[in-house]
């Protein structure tokens, strides 16, 4: 094993690596032992606390409905946010300053605000000015908050996706006499959608993770708040946390793997321009670096 940073180890380096491995292993072992012992002392390892997860009831009453609410909210938020984001993303690329300016302000504003603030506001808004039932309200509020935030992030994804296409595409469209609207709808957007796909799937991970916020703060019955009900019933705090975290990890891991599979496929494909927006670009867009330095050349990711 060697890398740029170190040579293939010789006898002394091998010895040192073994030493480091042993020390590090010892540290990890101490940590694991501490965790194990505390859990044992607190009775968290008893089979009775873990048994519910092997039976149908815990899943059908708590975990699966919670997971389905999480996924429902995430999917709905994505479906609404995508067209909204496309509109704002295209508006930011407009030739007219009076379209570009306001669109940029709206996008940067919603990107700079924590999604929790948007959820809290939406919840209060529905409470006071609409007749959404109090049962439905958390769901509406969570989806609204997620839509407002993610539409602005997706607007940037769309903008970056269109900018990532080679210049020749819009030049060729101009050369054969297409108007601006035609260039956008029949040349740039269809190609940009493929470029953006991995970024959109990666954004789903962010949305899924953010639904948990609605569970704690607005009592939206998603996976994390269902965990609380489950733990109240079976008194298994640690096991329930481990299981819920594992479910989140599996769901998000599937999404991440799908995104990077798409990214690799698009990068290799000979028919496209090779331009692609990957997961790393999404991380950048979520932070809302105001006045962003964001820019991709043809086929370039940062």
């Amino acid at each position: 094993m060697s890398s740029v940073l170190y040579d293939t180890p010789g006898p002394r380096a091998k010895q040192r690596n073994v030493l480091f491995s042993v020390v590090f292993f010892a540290l990890l072992a101490v940590l694991v032992w501490f965790v194990w012992k505390t859990m044992d002392d607190e009775g968290q390892l008893e089979w009775a606390l873990w048994k519910p997860f092997t039976e149908e009831q815990a899943w059908t009453t708590y975990l699966l409905p919670g997971l389905s609410n999480t996924l429902k909210a995430a999917a709905l938020a994505m479906v609404i946010a995508l067209p909204l984001g496309a509109v704002f993303g295209i508006a930011r690329l407009s030739d007219h300053r009076w379209v570009r300016g306001p669109a940029a302000t709206v996008v940067e504003f919603f990107r700079a605000i924590p999604v929790l603030l948007l959820m809290l506001f939406a919840n209060e808004f529905y409470d006071r000015w609409t007749n959404v039932t109090s049962e439905q309200r958390p769901f509406y509020a969570v989806v609204t908050g997620l839509v407002l935030y993610n539409a602005s992030v997706l607007a940037e994804v769309v903008r970056a996706g269109i900018l990532a296409l080679p210049k020749g595409q819009s030049e060729a469209a101009k050369a054969i006499g297409l108007r601006k609207g035609q260039t956008m709808t029949s040349i740039l957007l269809p190609q940009a959608v493929t470029v953006m796909l991995p970024a959109i799937v990666s954004q789903l991970v962010v949305i899924v993770k953010d639904t948990a916020l609605g569970g704690v703060m607005l009592q939206f019955p998603e996976l994390l708040s269902e965990r609380a009900t489950l733990a109240a019933n079976y008194a298994n705090v640690i096991p329930s946390f481990i299981v819920v975290a594992a479910i989140f990890i599996v769901v998000n891991f599937i999404l991440t793997s799908f995104a990077s599979w798409l990214e690799g496929r698009l990068r290799r494909s000979k028919r496209s321009t090779g331009a692609v927006l990957g997961a790393e670009d999404v991380e950048e867009l979520n932070a809302a670096e105001v006045g962003g330095t964001y820019g991709t050349g043809a086929g370039g990711t940062i």
Binding site: F20, F24, P114, L116, A212, G215, T293
Partner: protein, 221 residues
């Protein structure tokens, strides 16, 4: 017009937000750099640990981690972080959770920075006989840090927004105060605007300053 602010200490809530941000930023920078060092190290066990940590933590919602610090770490494992006072303990646990979560992103940012350092730099360092830790400390990381100021600033801004999750365990920061005010006062829109403005004020200068800094410190090649 702003008389609804009376009786609430908005500035103190935002001060808590700033404290959460700064302490978590420093902590996650240290822990994240260590993780990045592990992920590129010659010791397979450390590499494995770094990779596993990043992949696990990045896929768990921050809310789950923060709630766990309170219900799991504090209540079951008895990690009180040196304080029996509920508020202080909640604050420290929130910082711990934020560090654990943000470090994974810091690690990835630094690792991608390490990849931007030209091969020749590391090769030259090895050629003059520097060890792995010398190569990393003296040659690679100083250049890598300068090229990741932009990405790290993004993580910092995301962290500023993420501190609101601490409201989930009752830390008296901006989002929790907003929740209280919005439920009890009539001027919902104005309150939301005040808090939104507060966060824009926190993130806007950060973005501008680090944008300027990353241009200034960029390694000229």
């Amino acid at each position: 017009m702003f008389d609804f602010l009376e009786g609430y200490n908005v500035l103190e809530a935002f001060w808590t937000t700033v404290q959460l941000t700064v302490l978590s930023a420093v902590g996650s920078l240290i822990w994240g750099t260590l993780l990045a060092g592990m992920r590129v190290s010659p010791v397979p066990l450390m590499r494995g640990f770094g990779t596993a940590y990043v992949n696990i933590v990045r896929n768990i919602p921050l809310t789950v981690i923060i709630v766990f610090t309170s219900l799991g770490l504090a209540d079951i494992f008895g990690v009180t972080l040196g304080s029996r006072d509920f508020d202080v303990q909640g604050f420290r646990l929130a910082v711990l959770g934020l560090i654990a979560y943000t470090a994974a992103f810091v690690c990835e940012a630094i690792r991608s920075g390490i990849n931007t350092v030209p091969l020749g730099q590391a090769e030259a360092a090895r050629a003059i006989g520097l060890s792995f830790s010398q190569t990393l400390r003296l040659i690679i990381l100083p250049q890598a840090f300068r090229s990741v100021i932009g990405p790290l600033a993004n993580v910092l801004i995301a962290l500023t927004k993420n501190t609101t999750v601490a409201a989930a365990i009752g830390v008296a920061e901006a989002a929790l105060l907003m929740k209280e005010m919005i439920e009890n006062e009539a001027q919902v829109l104005l309150i939301a605007a005040v808090f939104a403005f507060g966060f824009v004020v926190l993130t806007l200068p950060t973005g501008l300053f680090f944008g300027w800094l990353s241009k200034r410190l960029a390694v000229k090649r």
